[in-house]
Subunit: 211 residues, 2 copies
Amino acid sequence: MDAIQVLIIDDHPLIRLGVKRSLESSGGMQVVGECADLASTRKWLDLNGKAHVAILDRSLPDGDGLEIVEALKAAGIKVIVLTVEDDDVEIRAAIEAGVDGYLLKSSDTDQIIHAIGVVLQDAGAFPPQVLKKIYRGNQNDNPISRLSARELEIAEYVAQGYSNKVIGAKLNLSDNTVRNHLANIMQKLDFHNRVQVATLVLQHLRKARRI
Amino acid sequence: MDAIQVLIIDDHPLIRLGVKRSLESSGGMQVVGECADLASTRKWLDLNGKAHVAILDRSLPDGDGLEIVEALKAAGIKVIVLTVEDDDVEIRAAIEAGVDGYLLKSSDTDQIIHAIGVVLQDAGAFPPQVLKKIYRGNQNDNPISRLSARELEIAEYVAQGYSNKVIGAKLNLSDNTVRNHLANIMQKLDFHNRVQVATLVLQHLRKARRI
DNA sequence: CCACCAATAGGGCGTATGCGTTACACTGCG
DNA sequence: CGCAGTGTAACGCATACGCCCTATTGGTGG
């Protein structure tokens, strides 16, 4: 059997080296490419790069690693995300992007090799610790998702420390209206003042965009 | 000349492997120990482990890597921090803990080898990108540091969404007193409402403890 | 010892906020 | 079509908040 061809996409030279050596020393694997960012990955694909599996980091200097998943899949390359992000939001975003596996950087080298074997059999490689996160995440689903678009807009202004009157001016609304929206927001979230709304929004932002 | 002995402390097997291979392939370096957490590092030191340099990660499963710096220095081991944290707060904390070098995990393997050579000559290994952070950090020094201990305590309760009356009850204060403290806080920070205070505290917490 | 500041506490005043309620227009869905 | 959901707006009321002010106590530094 021919060697399994692996593409490594990670901006940390140390990680690239670690993955490369652990794969090559396991036998039967061959690293056919190393890319440090999205741009070089696209170039590698354009130059007719072929591989069976890509090991993909999320936090790349020029964007989110998930942006390149589609192109990789189109080239017939299985994608395993290897990242430090273990938030349920992040994991779900990766699954929705269509990745075949999700590993944490704290993984052992064996787990990575095992995951590659699994995804090549068209199965999903999601370790228990990762699945647990998703499951728990689905339980107490993000409370902020209950807000309507308009309410979310106002909640974001609240989080920036604006008064109802100022928010009203910004959105061309009566401050009465802003107050009503905020009242509805607080009712939906079971909060009793605007500071709680602000903290929730800030926490949510911290998760949504990685900071 | 004998080989330079290096101890690697990092909870990520991939990073350990990457560092190990890059050091060993450079020639003249020998990895004499690998530890994944604080506890095993202490054990390693107790068993009379000797090394010239330690490559230390900050985020370990059982605590902050900086906690072990003192013990390493006491054993005559130079310490180079290798981490993803590039906040000025984090960098300054490391320098105060007495580390000899500070590298980001995005560093190239050459930089690590170079840093080891530098610290063995009793010099500090702080790349320009790191030093720039500290410098800029010193400029607009953390505004929250202007608050007194009591004010900070109240600011933290504000960030948790409590009203003045509730904060007063929690601290055995009159709500008038809480109000006065908060007024002083807002004056010091040039803020005009409690939400701004809350957001600042939350941002600060995000930096101080890594989340 | 005096000056200064942090911490505590209170009063007063005007405004903002939170809470309940009502009302109406618009949109989409069964 | 009717109905639910959403966005908009207004009113009144009680409370919280922000912004003045004064005052005492205890510690720190000149």
